[in-house]
């Protein structure tokens, strides 16, 4: 046996010994408790699976760089001409420069967290809270609806904010395509090219201070695609937004993720009527700083979210709890009051995070200035608002 063989044997022996002999007690039982409350997904059709497998084998459609550059240049030229002419069916205005907004709900499900002002429940309700799509509609989601597209069919109008993973759109050709590109201009280019949807001129604008592109797809202009899949191709669990109904799409990037804001209605007239109120709502959306984003992502991982509100009178001081945290001399940037609740009991609310199922935990979320010792880590701490006790926090070392 040579030294290589001996080392392999020693390594294997060590790995087998290093592995724990048993799982923590109750692990399997806890998992089964979570499972009992969940319904299995329906089986996807074999035809779709075969089609997708075929597309992988065939490599799908590809566009050469010259053609892409030409299309992008033409789109930009069209947008410029459109702006110069100040034409267009509907005026597009940039959202206002970010200003302090009334913070109400802090949503951490998407890759970039945001706050929004709760709209009048008679106008708009949140019908979907997932890491791929935050969905709002004028009517509560029907019990049978799982995907946002189904909720769109059951409502008159609404707003959705979708985070692009590897998006996909139905092609006019008979086989599925590759994924779409995700940069905002590329995404819209692929949407128009692949599905032959007729987009209104693409207008540069801003959303919450981020550069954005916006366009409208009117009824019947969606080409070959009834929808656009934001997460991945049309297999199980793919999340989609309808294109077969009039939609104003605004596409922008935050923190490396591209988002699609979809304001939609069932008819062209409905969309025109809905847009002013919808814009008032979407203008309240504010993406949060890196530390707050990190905190809400942590909470969302355990099915919990933070709702912000004005702090009541008589709370204990939070300062002593974060003295010298996360390191001596750390400078506080903000302390925000809110309540943590569990929205997804199946996601370990029972043992992880801050709020157990059914409980509301009032906290101070304290964030810190990113100074040299922070090494670029998101810095935050939470303090129990009623007792003033330190709950948890994050800081260096940062992986």
């Amino acid at each position: 046996m040579n030294s290589v063989d001996r080392f392999d044997v020693a390594l294997k022996d060590w790995i087998v010994r290093a592995a724990p002999a048993s799982a923590p007690p109750q692990l399997h039982q806890q998992a089964m408790l979570r499972i009992r409350s969940r319904r299995q997904h329906l089986s996807a059709s074999a035809a779709v699976r075969a089609a997708v497998a075929d597309s992988r084998l065939m490599g799908g459609l590809r566009f050469g760089p010259a053609r892409v550059a030409t299309v992008v240049a033409l789109l930009l030229l069209a947008a410029l001409l459109f702006m110069l002419a100040a034409g267009g069916r509907l005026p597009v205005r940039p959202s206002p420069t970010p200003t302090p907004a009334p913070l109400t709900v802090l949503v951490g499900g998407l890759p970039a967290a945001f706050t929004f002002s709760e709209p009048d429940a008679a106008t708009l309700v949140r019908v979907l809270n997932t890491p791929e799509i935050q969905g709002f509609a004028d009517a509560p989601a029907p019990a049978s609806a799982v995907e946002y597209g189904e909720m769109q069919r059951a409502s008159s109008h609404g707003v959705a904010l979708g985070a692009l993973g590897t998006p996909w759109v139905h092609h006019c050709e008979s086989y599925p395509s590759d994924h779409m590109r995700v940069a905002p201009a590329d995404f819209l280019d692929d949407l128009a090219t692949a599905s032959r949807a007729t987009l209104d001129p693409i207008i540069p604008t801003t959303f919450d201070g981020h550069p954005a592109l916006t366009t409208t797809i009117w009824a019947g202009a969606n080409g070959c695609s009834p929808d656009v899949h934001v997460t991945h191709g049309p297999t199980r669990g793919s999340k989609y937004l309808l294109l077969s109904i009039p939609s104003r799409l605004t596409v922008f990037s935050v923190g490396g993720t591209t988002f699609v804001l979809d304001v939609w209605a069932q008819t062209d007239a409905d969309l025109e009527a809905w847009l002013p109120a919808a814009t008032a709502f979407t203008d309240s959306i504010r993406f949060v700083d890196a530390s707050t984003q990190d905190f809400v992502a942590y909470l969302a991982g355990y099915g919990q979210e933070l709702t912000l509100s004005p702090a009541p009178e008589g709370l204990l001081d939070w300062h002593p709890a974060v003295k010298d945290f996360p390191f001596p001399g750390a400078v506080v940037s903000a302390a925000t009051y809110g309540t943590v609740t569990c929205f997804g009991p199946s996601l370990n609310c029972a043992t992880r995070g801050l709020a157990r199922p059914g409980a509301s935990v009032p906290i101070w979320l304290v964030t810190f200035v990113d100074s040299p010792p922070a090494q670029g880590c998101p810095l935050w701490a939470t303090v129990a608002a009623t007792t003033g006790e330190f709950l948890n926090g994050s800081g260096p070392p940062c992986n």
Binding site: A23, H28, Q40, P397
Partner: protein
Amino acid sequence: MQRDLVLSAQVGDVDAYSTLTAGMTDRLFAAARLILGDSDQAADAVQDALLQAWLDLRSLRDPERFEAWMHRVLVRTCYAAARRNRKRTVVEIHMSQMVEPSQTDSQASIALHDQLNRAFTRLSTDHRTVLALVHYLGLTMTETASVIGVPLGTVQSRLSRATQLMRAALEADERRLAPVVEGVR
């Protein structure tokens, strides 16, 4: 027997699924612990894998392949956990030692054990995953490639590289420790 349990679970029988998975939880946890290097994260990953497998069970076309399919789901949830952990470090979560040596180990064996611990912890998730699947779960290279969803050649190169890295780390540790040992003498 396993085939019947899978078929029952595929039509929504939770008890069958519980029986089916009860016997494999220890091994799933051990593999996850090796891949992630942290017991809390490993427990979360196993729970997520058990839940995800239940939700997607109807997509499993060959019941005989349940265990291999479960390994694939586990690797996916471990990678998701590793990505989450890269993004944040929450102070309530602490990395712990991989394994404590037993009292009967000789000093040399304890030293080797510590060196392997350190070297293994420094490996990437990709490399720890390949080592765990091949050396702990005993999968073949082809099975490992199928579980991870990469070509066979990639598995071979990752395994070779991971072994090289472990060896190099051990040698570096030995070089670093040598003067101290000599000084004690």
